[in-house]
């Protein structure tokens, strides 16, 4: 045992080593651009240099003259396909080669295909375009942006939540704040580059591309190419980091597929790091106005949250995190409003933890300000406002262990040693600050199918079209089957990431473990039922034990009376070599069409604030120490402690790693990450990993994760809440609070950098 493998507590599974660990450390795990492909040609994109206007002509002559160039796909060449659609599966409605309108800088204008990568790259740089350009609107406050209310424009935000009479309560509050906060543009930047490899065998198209949604993509790509979905297969067995970026399919996939059809051989397009900033999705910049009013006793009487988010011209993308912030505490009244601001930018998309990261940041930074205004300990302030029921619909929480999280994290952190006075804690040249914040993420699940096969020699194979994006879902799905069927993990294999497997929902929104494990559980139970029936039958090895409680362990069927039968003996009686069961899971409250929609690639989410009986969220509390050099204002985070309660923990090892990674993401949000925009040209400036800062090893020291036991069987049959998106919610606010504590400077606009702290 080591730190990476926490000892399981109540309702927590064993820290089983990742089932694909060996493959990953030996270089044998094949990511989509690694797949051996005979006779492959290489594709490189050419993109627009303007952000708004029209392409009048693309000059390809010079590019075509480069030795080795096979083809150039550009305007006109996609006319026989349908344009992309914006939605859960499609990143944007912009069909870059269907329409000569330029909606954003870096929009695809051509794909060069050549014998070698080098020739394709050289040729792509020789493609020139003539534009009729117009002055673009880059972001908030730019001339020409269109601002509109977000509610109802997107399924992400159906309405602006509210409760009670905010205006009256705020007006009469004894203590109040009214502040503005902002978060910058951010790009996921998974280390794996985005890529598409397309290959046709007759009418069958296989796409190797890192994906969080193989089933959805199969359906959407078939629609765009006007072919039968049965002829499309999306393969993505390993994904090199996703964080939401590989959820929606982009326009490139169909373009590469068309290119492969044209040249009559497989085409692989690995998108450069720079081009990914514009051709994939990202987290758009957000602004917030928060108003909080409270009595002198610290009880909040009024909470107002207004949000603004940037999106592209054509697509109403919105995250709208007011649903969660409006339910977080026991507010007397709530007023929220979200607006979207259409600018000349590529369409944003989900990024680890879509609504909550920016919105809860604003709320929690404001909560700390409010605690200061009240002269109250920030932990105590949150405790006082702990709700019995959520304030919007008056529904209970299926479970809510936030106070326990605060207690355990505060103790581990040593919060009681904090001197509340600003600037009072100093260590030599370093100003020390301590802060805290709440993490919250909605608990949802979606319909999912799985197939489980058990052979007479005790081998188990689990198949599910979910996606191993680093979360450990392949491991926990195997663990679920191993536990349920009483088989050792060494005899379990798990196949994922292929649209030919039983369909699973998009791997996003922290739904995978719950959805996949619930389906695997159901399939295993069907296998068990068959085995149990055979075992207790008249000719079975446990004949006469029909009324006993049966279980499976160590490759045996064990009856409550103590009798047991070897698996192989039961198979002998059954005269079969294998039992295979296919199961479909649908969450409580699913519509009658939910399972049908699963096969159509449309996951129907349940849980969060959507259910009638209760609201379902996972919670956490994070405590951060910052050190700020009194001369240089260099900001360091020597330690961070997070305590999280997320129902059943399938595997304490993978859970801890996910939460740890999330908290480090949060440190990145607080101190490092921001895509800079040249406002004149609506152009991203720092489009690489040198200038787009992410945390590196030297930025991170002590990270402690506490897994707080919690049982919640209301959420789903597996009792799992999911936690991939939880760890980085709130972190940035905890850092901002600690910076305030150290320096007295309240930084409301992320990221917090040295220049913010020089007075």
């Amino acid at each position: 045992m080591n730190q990476a493998a926490p000892v399981p507590k109540e309702n927590q599974g064993e820290p089983v080593v990742r089932i694909d660990g060996r493959l990953k450390v030996t270089g044998q795990a094949s990511y989509p651009a690694d797949i051996a492909t005979a006779n492959v040609a290489y594709g490189v994109l050419a993109t627009s240099s303007i952000a708004r206007g029209k392409v009048s002509k693309v000059h390809t002559e010079e590019a075509r003259a480069v030795p080795g160039v096979l083809d150039i796909v550009t305007y006109g060449d996609m006319d026989e396909t349908d344009t992309p659609k914006f939605g859960n599966t499609g990143a944007s409605s912009i069909g870059p080669l269907h329409d000569k309108t330029i909606f954003h800088e870096g929009q695809i204008i051509a794909l060069v295909v050549a014998e070698t990568f080098e020739a394709a790259e050289e040729a792509s740089m020789l493609i020139r375009a003539d534009y009729e350009d117009e002055p673009p609107s880059a972001s908030f406050d730019s001339k020409g942006v269109k601002v509109e209310p977000a509610a109802g424009k997107s399924p992400m935000l159906q309405e602006d939540v509210k409760a009670g009479d905010f205006d009256a309560a705020y007006a009469s509050a004894a203590v109040k704040i009214d502040q503005k906060y902002s978060t910058p543009t951010q790009h996921h930047n998974p280390i794996e580059l985005f890529s598409t490899t397309a290959m046709w065998q007759g009418h069958q198209l296989t796409i190797h591309e890192p994906s969080q949604n193989v089933t959805g993509w199969k359906i959407e790509l078939a629609r765009q190419l006007k072919i039968d979905p049965a002829n499309v297969r999306i393969v993505s067995p390993y994904v090199g980091g996703a964080f939401g970026s590989k959820g929606p399919m982009t326009a490139r996939t169909a373009i590469v597929a068309v290119a492969a059809r044209r040249v009559g051989r497989p085409v692989r397009c690995v998108v450069s790091r720079m081009q990914a900033f514009n051709t994939q999705t990202y987290r758009a910049e957000t602004r917030h106005r928060i108003r909080i009013g409270a009595g002198k006793d610290g009880r909040i009487t009024a909470f107002g949250h207004e949000g603004w988010e940037v999106t592209s011209r054509p697509d109403p993308y919105v995250v709208g995190g007011t649903s969660a912030t409006g339910r977080m505490y026991n507010y007397g009244s709530v007023l929220t409003h979200v607006s979207i601001v259409h600018a000349d930018r590529n369409t944003p998309g989900y990024m680890r933890s879509p609504p909550e990261t920016p919105y809860v940041y604003a709320l929690e930074n404001a909560m700390d300000e409010m605690a200061v205004a009240l002269g109250m300990d920030p932990v105590e302030f949150r405790r006082i406002n702990e709700p019995e029921k959520e304030p919007i619909g008056g529904k209970p929480f299926s479970s809510r262990s936030l106070v326990k999280c605060y207690d355990q994290a505060a103790e581990a952190f040593g919060w009681s040693k904090r001197d509340a006075a600003v600037g009072s804690m100093r260590d030599g040249d370093w100003l020390v600050g301590m802060g805290c914040a709440t993490a919250i993420y909605p608990t949802a699940s979606a319909p999912c199918a799985a197939r489980v096969r058990l052979t007479s020699d005790g081998q188990v194979r689990v198949q599910c079209g979910s996606h191993e994006i680093g979360t450990g879902v392949r491991t926990v799905a195997g663990q679920m089957a191993a536990e349920r069927l009483g088989i050792g993990m060494d005899k379990v294999s798990v196949e994922m990431g292929d649209s030919a497997l039983p369909p699973a929902p998009v791997s996003g929104g922290s739904i995978s473990t719950a959805s996949v494990c619930s389906a695997v559980l159901k399939a295993c139970d069907a296998v068990r039922a068959k085995l149990f029936a055979a075992a207790v039958a008249r000719d079975g090895p446990l004949a006469g034990s029909g009324n006993a409680k049966l279980d499976m362990e160590q490759e045996k069927i064990v009856a409550s009376g103590g009798k047991s039968a070897k698996l192989s003996d039961v198979f002998k009686v059954m005269q079969v070599g294998a039992i295979e069961e296919y199961a479909e899971f649908a969450p409580k409250g699913s519509t009658p069409e939910a399972l049908k929609k699963l096969y159509a690639g449309q996951a129907e989410f349940h849980g969060g604030d959507q259910d009638k009986d209760s609201v379902k969220y996972a919670f956490g509390a994070e405590f951060v120490e910052v050190r700020i050099n009194s001369y240089t204002r260099e900001i360091r985070v020597p330690r961070i402690v997070g305590a999280f309660a997320a129902g059943r923990i399938m595997n304490t090892r993978t859970a801890r790693s996910q939460l740890m990674g999330g908290m480090i993401w949060g440190i990145g949000q607080a101190l490092h990450e921001a895509t800079e925009i040249d406002r004149r040209n609506a152009r991203y400036v720092n489009r690489d990993l040198q200038d787009y800062l992410v945390p590196v090893n030297a930025d991170i020291k002590q990270v402690d994760v506490i897994l707080v036991p919690e049982v919640d069987l209301d959420v789903n049959p597996a009792g799992v809440k999911g936690l991939g998106e939880l760890g980085n919610v709130g972190t940035a606010a905890a850092v901002a609070s600690a910076v305030y504590h150290a320096t007295g400077k309240r930084i409301r606009d992320l990221p917090i950098r040295i220049d913010n702290l020089i007075s």
Partner: protein, 205 residues
């Protein structure tokens, strides 16, 4: 750059030209009549090919490569060793780290032709022939020092270099000297713990 081959390893050389991956891959049929019509069988010859020899994981390879081919692309696209990853192609992420004559090198920043006569080690060359993992590989598994696994080959190769250079003396040293290898899943604390375990084991050996 000349096309001369390294004298060493001639007898054991595995002669391979072009794409090794071709041999391993599934056969692929030509497609619809439309494809043939659009694309008259064009034997497009790339320019500036050089025939070079590389020693990779103690095996010799002869390759016909564009002079501009990076060592990374040579490994991945021409030798079929895809364990080494491309994360930026600009020397900014470390995912492509390999050992060249025992030193850490970013293979995306090195032309393949520059590496003739040198001993290149990739993640595929670390485990012993009987499958026993290198102590750094084993430590990465033990400490869950990865999630998605994409930066992992680069981290592991870099960690071997870091230990070998004597830069793994303290946790702070490890953090500093491993900061050229980005991990977006942010397994950093686990990576540091893994390197300490491996360092101690290598020292004992």
């Amino acid at each position: 750059m000349s096309n001369s081959t390294s004298p060493s390893g001639l007898s054991r050389r595995t002669f391979m030209t072009g794409s090794v991956t071709a041999a391993a891959a599934m056969p692929l049929m030509a497609t619809s009549p439309k494809a043939a019509e659009l694309s008259p069988a064009r034997a497009a010859e790339p320019r500036d090919l050089s025939t070079i020899s590389l020693r990779i994981n103690k095996q010799a390879y002869t390759l016909a490569l564009d002079n501009r081919t990076s060592l990374l692309d040579a490994l991945r696209d021409h030798v079929g060793l895809t364990g080494t990853k491309k994360g930026c192609d600009h020397g900014q992420c470390g995912a492509c780290t390999v050992l060249v004559d025992g030193k850490r090198v970013l293979s995306c920043l090195s032309f393949a032709v520059m590496n003739q006569g040198r001993e290149i080690t990739t993640v595929e060359g670390l485990a012993s022939a009987d499958g026993e993992l290198h102590p750094v590989q084993q430590a990465f598994v033990d400490h869950d020092a990865f999630q998605c696994g994409y930066c992992t080959p680069g981290q592991i190769v870099s960690a071997i270099g870091c230990i070998d250079e004597g830069h793994a003396g303290s946790e702070d040293d490890i953090r500093e000297y491993m900061s050229g290898n980005l991990c977006r899943c942010a397994a950093y604390p686990n990576i540091v713990a893994a390197i300490i375990q491996a360092r101690d084991e290598i020292r004992r050996a």
